[in-house]
């Protein structure tokens, strides 16, 4: 079993080397992009076509190509192909938006768990802080403080203009960071398992607060949640201009809702780019090295002159701030928040993305977010649809003579989200603890290469060696 697995890995490795030679990666990637884009365009509901498209985006990252080519292809996919396909089938835009939201969350959690080694099981609380901040100020809620929850008068003005959203992105970031520090101050005295338990409790406290802060003052509108929440206004000239391009490509002009989806997708993308920028730079500095040292051996780190508490707080604050921004974005994009969006499963979901992708690995964490969201939103859904179709037919399982229509509703795969997270965590712990794309230390004894070109060309060779070993 083990040897067959190894030989499979080895043959995959040699396939990779063959695909990495000369022009092969360029031809493969570009042709896959073209084919999958066309396929998705022609058959927008086909899951396999969409997965193929995402794979082509993945190849842009993983195959060895010139950096400039990679950047151009990535920009093309992110800024042209995805919006066009997204307007063609709005569900894909939703999937990709969710991937970007969770990728940003996972990148933030990765700082806390992957870099500094502090297991945080209540991470989604910071996301809730950002979301409720804009939900409160961006809705009519400030005027309804004394109203009975759920009976909001419809003819109340909004508290702030919708364009304040942009300011609140920043405020959400700051508030979440402050909450992170406030939580960190008492909590970071405990380590390891105890820290995990305390943060888990904190996550629940925030959710329960959101649930119950509808009295004495109605701040959160309780379990009903707050709605409507404002979105920023989109300039009409921008919509008209984009429609001139989009209409011939897609076949119909994009509606206002579709424009908002595009807008929030672009905002999420922008946040991710900023987050990656900050994370890579922090990682490659004395702060990142100190985080790694604390993760490896806290006592030794302190003995090397690292102010451990200060740096742990910094990790908490930076991680939390990313969640805060995404929270504001989430509240505006949904125009609705309720406590149920911030339950424990969300924290576990983000954590399983980080672990699946690879603790401390930036590309890994993004891949992890993609895989988990797609499994959740698409694969499980597709299985559900397939099962319910079977249930409505007269089909029978042959040998045991079991009619599909008698199958219990409890077996609906869409309900298997928790099992999915559990399986991911168990399988990764057993077979690949370092994640899909393990974090690599930079190799540059000979001095720093500050052009940012971090021996990407040699990466496949190392991979092959690992595969063959």
């Amino acid at each position: 079993m083990k040897t067959r697995w190894n030989s499979l890995l080895a043959s995959l490795g040699s396939l990779r080397t063959r695909l990495s030679i000369g022009k092969a990666p360029y031809i493969l990637t570009i042709s896959l992009i073209v084919v999958s884009t066309l396929w998705v365009f022609i058959d927008p509901r086909n899951l396999i076509a969409f997965l193929l498209f995402l794979t082509s985006a993945w190849l842009v990252y993983s195959l060895p190509m010139k950096r400039s080519v990679k950047i151009i292809l990535a920009l093309l996919i992110a800024l042209v192909i995805v919006p066009v396909l997204g307007v063609r089938n709005i569900f894909y835009l939703e999937v990709i938006f969710q991937i970007s939201v969770f990728a940003a969350l996972a990148l933030g959690l990765n700082i806390v768990v992957g870099f500094a080694g502090l297991l945080n099981l209540g991470y989604v609380a910071f996301y809730a802080v950002g979301a409720y901040l804009w939900a409160f100020f961006g809705s009519q809620q400030p005027f309804l403080l004394n109203a009975i929850p759920g009976t909001a008068a419809p003819n109340v003005n909004f508290f702030l203009p919708g364009d304040m959203f942009f300011l609140f992105l920043l405020l959400g970031m700051i508030l979440a960071a402050v909450v992170g520090v406030l939580l960190g101050l008492p909590v970071l005295r405990v380590r390891g398992d105890y820290l995990a338990i305390v943060t888990l409790g904190f996550g629940e406290v925030i959710r329960v607060l959101a649930n119950n802060l509808d009295k004495p003052l109605n701040l959160t509108n309780g379990p009903q949640g707050i709605t409507p929440i404002q979105r920023p206004t989109l300039a009409t000239w921008l919509q008209d201009g984009l429609n001139i391009i989009l209409t011939p490509l897609v076949g119909h002009p994009a509606s206002e809702g579709e424009f908002y989806n595009l807008f929030f997708y672009m905002m999420a993308l922008l946040v991710i780019v900023l987050v990656i920028f900050m994370v890579t730079r922090l990682d490659d500095s004395k702060i990142g090295r100190a985080w790694a040292a604390i993760r490896e051996d806290e006592l030794a780190a302190a003995s090397m002159g690292i102010p451990v508490v200060k740096l742990k707080l910094a990790a908490f604050a930076v991680g939390a701030s990313f969640a805060g921004v995404m929270g504001v974005l989430f509240a505006a994009s949904r125009t609705f928040v309720s406590p149920e969006s911030f339950n424990f499963m969300q924290s576990i979901g983000v954590l399983s993305m980080v672990i699946l992708g690879g603790l401390g690995s930036i590309p890994g964490v993004i891949l992890g977010a993609g895989v988990v969201v797609i499994l959740n939103l698409q694969v499980l859904q597709a299985l559900s649809l397939w099962l319910s179709a079977l249930r409505q037919s007269d089909a029978v399982i042959p040998i045991i003579n079991f009619a599909w229509r008698n199958l219990s509703n409890q077996l609906d795969p869409a309900k298997y989200q928790r099992m999915l997270f559990g399986l991911i965590l168990i399988i990764m712990m057993i077979y690949r603890q370092e994640g899909l794309i393990p974090a690599r230390r930079r190799k540059r004894e000979k001095g720093k290469d500050l052009t940012g070109n971090e021996n990407g060309e040699q990466a496949p060779a190392a991979e092959v060696k690992n595969g063959a070993a």
């Binding site: 090295r289 003995s303 690292i306």
Partner: protein, 262 residues
């Protein structure tokens, strides 16, 4: 001039007095050792010096600073670096990164210069890498910089730990059993390295050591601890013939036998 001076330092764990009224003076520029049987309180004494434990009584002065109540990182910033009895490297970091972590308190990068890669940041990082390379040359690890620390052989890991400690430019280096587990060739290389650390870099060295060969060869003064107390102090020849010391190591009966034979 005394670089380090402790007076009446006492550290208790529940009913056990691990370090009992230690008076200790270390001269600037010297190489001294603390010896004693297992469980004598040597490492605990180191841990009180470096701020990992806070002593119940007594005071510790290091070049006109009081150390009691300071955190380990603050004490390191004042100029005391250490190595550990069981090597405590950052295993999944490379050798260079381990040494750069040791420089942490000296680097003046702030978040803004880190995010924007300011000129100051880049030149400081370049200098740091340069110094890390020099330190690797100094301890004899040239070319190993990109290896993960956990992949190095035992003796090399010890040297990385010393390089990492030296990276903070300490005035005092505390070595906790630095030659434990080394073969004779590695041990004599280590002794030579300690001498060079003192002679070329002017670092005062205090070591805990069980290998009497090392202790006698390198120490200018030796302090002997047993049951948390200082039982003897002096130059190597005095310690070698001290009855209390021999008793502590061999037990009263064996010691008297040995002396009778001698």
């Amino acid at each position: 001039m005394a670089l380090l001076e402790t007076r009446n330092v006492t550290k208790q764990f529940g009913g056990l007095t691990a370090v009992d009224s230690m008076d200790f003076v270390l001269e600037q520029g010297s190489v001294c050792s603390i010896i004693g049987p297992n469980g004598a309180g040597k490492t605990t004494f180191f841990n009180t010096l470096t701020g990992i434990y806070r002593p119940e009584k007594g005071y510790i002065h290091f070049s006109s600073h009081s150390l009691v109540g300071r955190r380990p990182d603050q004490i390191t910033s004042l100029g005391i670096a250490r190595t550990f009895q069981n090597i405590r490297l950052f295993g999944s970091l490379t050798v260079v990164e381990n040494i750069l972590v040791g420089m942490h308190p000296r680097l003046k990068q702030d978040p803004v210069s880190i995010l924007f890669r300011s000129r100051k940041f880049r030149s400081e990082e370049e200098q740091a890498y340069q110094q890390a390379r020099e330190l690797m040359d100094f301890v004899g690890l040239s070319g190993f910089g990109d290896e993960l620390a956990q992949n190095l052989p035992y003796g090399a890991q010890r040297r990385v730990e010393i390089a990492r400690a030296l990276a903070s430019s300490p005035r005092l280096l505390l070595l906790d059993e630095p030659t434990a587990g080394m073969n004779p060739a590695e041990t004599s290389a280590a002794i030579a390295l300690f001498r060079r650390i003192r002679d070329e870099r002017g670092v005062t060295i205090l070591l805990i050591e069980h290998d009497m060969h090392v202790v006698m060869e390198i120490s200018e003064r030796i302090t002997v601890m047993d049951y948390g107390k200082k039982i003897a102090e002096g130059v190597p020849d005095e310690i070698r013939t001290n009855n209390l010391v021999i008793e502590a190591y061999l037990g009263r009966g064996a010691a008297s036998e040995l002396l009778n034979l001698g």
